[in-house]
Symmetry: C2
Subunit: 211 residues, 2 copies
């Protein structure tokens, strides 16, 4: 059973990275172009100077996101997933070899833009943050129940242009609480930096949930 | 070899639907919320009254898109794909059983929102139209080369709000011609009805490519 095997490998990753090395790990996943990279860029920008950050980014092809992260001075491992439609613990394990785990305080993992496949492949993070943008339409939550249920926090990004597609943010938020009652929702504009305080606070909380 | 099996099944579908029944078939695929449904709605609205249209729509869950199409008076087969991250010829075959192929002139197939998995699963259409929206960011084309190469025409939708994410439409278009030199690109605003004439003209052309 390959899902079980991967789940076990994710647990090992978690044990190793979070517990042995004391690194905070957050995974960002969600729709193509929803703003995952922009949000991580924002979190990196506001981090204290002494916080050592690493990023593992998965993309079908190219180095576009990896390049953006490198420009911010953090260590980056780029993973080209090709036909594989999601990161898996094996790819993450290989990517970790490119990072200095003794040096890192924080590790962000950005999954491939995909609202279906990543649900079943946890990567060992302390927080799975699902990012959708208002511009995908306000039905995106109820159209993807399993993925919302598989994640810890939901971000509705690009709220600054929600009106351009008549997206009802309250509806999206109530859809989240209906599908995943325990799941907090954060409204952000990664472009304008809005909503980042609450999101950062939530991640901090997730980091302390088990020490 | 399951891909080969599906490819053969897609050819059979093509033979049956396009050649035996003389139905024009176009598949719309692309990113989550890029505007596939809105574009098909627009094409339905502008069709002559005597054009009998059917739609097969795949979504992870729910009937949201199917309901929208039914409100326009066309026959609809809804396919919930669940954990399957793309429509496949088997699902399309089952869906066809819900439609009256003797009555139809046109069949639109809307795939699940996904920029990775559908590439390898042609469904027997005469035109595979890949829809991305400017709001996903102008790097979306070069980040998904295989999918662009697997499709026939590219649509860059939501051009009315491209500025809101600083999307360079010329760049996107040149990326398409670099990755898939024969592939035409159409700029549309499904919301405002812009660019639909050219898209409809292209589909008409694809319908006559082989009669
Ligand atoms: N207006 C607006 N644009 C945004 C916001 N967040 C991101 N964008 C823009 O949306 C586009 C996509 O943002 P990215 O951060 O690259 O999205 P992503 O989820 O990392 O994309 P992939 O990794 O390719 O799936 C870029 O053009 C961003 O500038 C936002 O809050 N508001
Ligand atoms: N401003 C603007 N909004 C658009 C445009 N096209 C679609 N939208 C909006 O974008 C959202 C998504 O449109 P849909 O047609 O549902 O997109 P889709 O690709 O069918 O979505 P999925 O089937 O869920 O993947 C809706 O809120 C639409 O009203 C456009 O050209 N401009
Ligand atoms: Mg990204
Ligand atoms: Mg749709
Ligand atoms: Zn997949
Ligand atoms: Zn043919």
């Amino acid at each position: 059973d390959i899902l079980a095997q991967f789940a076990e490998q994710a647990d090992d990753l978690h044990e190793r990275v979070v517990h042995d090395h004391g690194i905070f790990v957050a995974e960002f996943l969600g729709a193509t172009g929803s703003g995952k990279t922009r949000l991580i860029e924002r979190l990196i920008e506001r981090a204290p100077d002494d916080e050592e950050i690493g990023v593992i980014v998965g993309d079908v092809a190219g180095e576009d996101d990896a390049t953006r992260f490198r420009e911010l001075g953090v260590s980056v491992a780029n993973v080209n997933t090709g036909k594989e439609c999601h990161l898996d613990p094996g790819l993450v394990e290989d990517a970790l070899a490119e990072l200095d785990l003794d040096a890192l305080d924080t590790l962000y993992i950005e999954n491939v833009g995909n609202m279906v496949c990543p649900a079943d492949f946890p990567l060992g993070a302390q927080a799975r943050v699902l990012v959708v943008s208002a511009t995908e339409g306000d039905d995106v939550v109820r159209k993807h129940p399993l993925l919302f249920q598989a994640c810890d926090g939901a971000v509705i990004n690009k709220v600054d242009i929600a009106d351009a597609v008549n997206a009802d943010l309250d509806l999206m938020e109530s859809d989240v609480s209906e599908i995943a009652p325990e799941m907090p929702t954060f409204r952000t504009s990664a472009e304008h930096g809005d909503g980042l305080d609450d999101l950062a606070g939530y991640l901090e909380e997730r980091g302390h949930v088990h020490a």
